[in-house]
């Protein structure tokens, strides 16, 4: 069997655990099927629900030893809504890992600013984990995270841990605060201005809705970041994950195989163009 056909056939994978995050987000812990290589931060897998459909979902955590990956899924559409019914012990279809992830080699010894909006945090979480694990290998870590409401904040139980990582700053903000909210208010990109970072020896990783990424990129450029130091994880419609179905094109790039993580300089010609 040749590559492509083989790749559109899902492998069976076991759900080892399901964790509720928010009212419409859950994290699914999936045992990697035999022969599948462990994904790298920023990569994604295609998850198939029996008879329902298949969706691209980023890796939000990985335990190499037990070969369990985490996928944090927000229930938004026809396929993702059925994830609500998935329970521990269920079987799911699995293909992956796909795509090019975050440039972990490039950031060794550098300061890093992670900017996440909404469901954009899960793909960045493995980066945080890696930095924490090899803390001395990297410079300062700044995490900026924003969601629409307080209820949408993900992984709140980990925030103390993020803050406890040495040489790390963690800021959250929400667009529409609740009454008891005591932290930042407004869109996450507003925070960029205020962080203390030297663009010449730093990298910025951004993940979130396209509009948010556009303004994040704008802010970072204004702050003095060069385009080759800004990395974005793009999102498009995807049906195959291997650069064949065509849907994920952004200009000449197939987001699934040339990305989803792109350095800004690489896509800058198209990134700003309306409805490209």
């Amino acid at each position: 069997m040749s590559k492509h056909m083989a790749n559109l056939i899902p492998l069976k994978a076991l759900i080892t655990h399901v964790k509720t995050e928010t009212r419409n987000v859950k994290t699914y812990y999936v045992k990697l099927p035999n022969g599948v290589e462990p994904p790298k931060p920023g990569q994604f897998n295609m998850l198939y629900v029996h008879g329902v459909g298949e969706v691209p979902i980023s890796v939000s955590d990985l335990d190499e030893k037990s070969r369990v990956v985490a996928h944090t899924v927000r229930f938004v559409g026809s396929v993702t809504k059925t994830f609500e019914l998935i329970r521990e012990g269920d079987v799911i279809g699995f293909r992956g890992p796909y795509g090019i992830g975050w440039p972990m080699d490039a950031i060794v010894g550098k300061d890093i600013v992670l900017i996440a909006g909404g469901i954009g945090l899960p793909p960045l979480r493995p980066v945080i984990r890696e930095v924490a694990r090899n803390r001395s290998a990297y410079g300062k870590l700044i995490i900026l995270y924003g969601t629409r409401t307080v209820e949408d904040l993900l992984f709140t139980y980990e925030y103390d841990y993020y803050k406890s990582i040495p040489n790390t700053e963690f800021y959250v903000t929400v667009d529409k605060p609740s009454e008891s909210w005591r932290s930042n208010v407004g869109v996450v990109t507003n925070l960029i201005k205020h962080v203390n970072i030297d663009p010449s020896k730093s990298y910025a990783f951004v993940c979130g809705p396209e509009m948010m990424m556009k303004s994040a990129a704008q802010e970072l450029l204004e702050k003095g970041f060069k385009m080759n130091k800004i990395y974005l994880s793009l999102e498009r419609r995807m049906k195959c994950g291997v650069g064949l179905c065509g849907h994920c094109q952004m200009g000449p790039y197939f987001v699934c195989k040339h990305g989803p993580v792109f350095p800004l300089w690489f896509i800058s010609k198209y990134f700003w163009v309306d409805q490209i």
Binding site: V49, H50, G51, V52, G53, G77, S78, V79, K81, T82, E84, L85
Partner: protein, 255 residues
């Protein structure tokens, strides 16, 4: 799996859409183990009172009495699915919306004064919030089955919303518009029928209603270039889904 408790209602219509349930000859008996047809007057006397998981609603709303009932349907059903051209756009009987109803009553009935109807025939969505639409005059049973099976899987059911042309070409039909130069509504009509008409050598007459984001003005401009008279273009759009928002707009422009 919990059985879906289903109610099937009929308003102003021909009954052809709900008949598609009974047309699922191969599947009907299996389906009854997944679906509980709690209210289905076309098929059974027994009625299991609501609330229902899903109400399939056929037909348009054309009398004051129907307005009452459709509101009740909404109240007692978790999901309301409009089936067919009548329930999604008013159907053929909405043609009376373009005329004087009093004159119509006199034409058809010896005692017109006994006739009590609303001024306009409307789809249920005019009065209540409708969750899903299955298009067609009538709907096709494959789509119906697929819809139900998707629901049973907990999925937000998806059906085709792009053009009939898409299905026409996939199927390998010859384009009637291009080859014969006669008007075809395929390019602005929602797929789902499997490009039935072009497969039988006739142009699409739009019984699935407007597709997502249709461009009727652009198509009409082409019809005019092909020599089709304005009145005939009007008649074309003014068929089974004449009261749909998108078609109505253009027809009104031509009035």
């Amino acid at each position: 799996m919990k059985k879906l408790k289903v109610a099937i209602y009929k308003f102003s219509s021909c009954g052809g859409c709900q008949l598609q349930f009974l047309n699922l000859e191969d599947e009907l008996l299996d389906l009854t183990s997944l679906v509980d047809f709690a209210l289905f007057y076309e098929a059974r006397r027994f009625v299991d009172l609501g609330p229902y998981d899903v109400a399939f609603v056929e037909g348009s709303i054309s009398t004051p009495h129907e307005v009452e009932i459709i509101k009740k349907v909404r109240e007692e059903s978790k999901i309301v699915v409009a089936i067919g051209a009548c329930a999604t756009s008013g159907g053929i009987q909405a043609l009376r919306n373009w005329a004087n109803i009093e004159e119509y009553k006199q034409y058809v009935y010896p005692r017109p004064e006994w006739i009590e109807v609303l001024k306009y025939v409307e789809p249920p969505s005019k009065y209540i919030n409708v969750d899903y639409e299955i298009r067609g005059c009538p709907i096709n049973k494959e789509q119906l089955l697929s819809f139900i099976l998707q629901l049973l899987k907990g999925k937000i059911p998806t059906l085709l919303i792009d053009s009939v042309c898409l299905e026409c070409k996939r199927k390998g039909n010859v384009c009637i518009l291009v080859v014969r130069g006669v008007p075809c509504l395929g390019p602005i009509t929602m797929g789902g029928c499997g490009a039935l008409c072009p497969s039988y050598g006739r142009s699409c007459y739009g019984c699935y209603g407007p597709m997502k984001d249709p461009k009727p003005e652009a198509l009409n401009a082409r019809f005019k270039e092909l020599g089709v008279k304005l009145n005939e273009i009007k008649l074309l759009l003014r068929q089974f889904t004449n009261w749909s928002k998108e078609f109505r707009k253009v027809i009104e422009e031509y009035e």
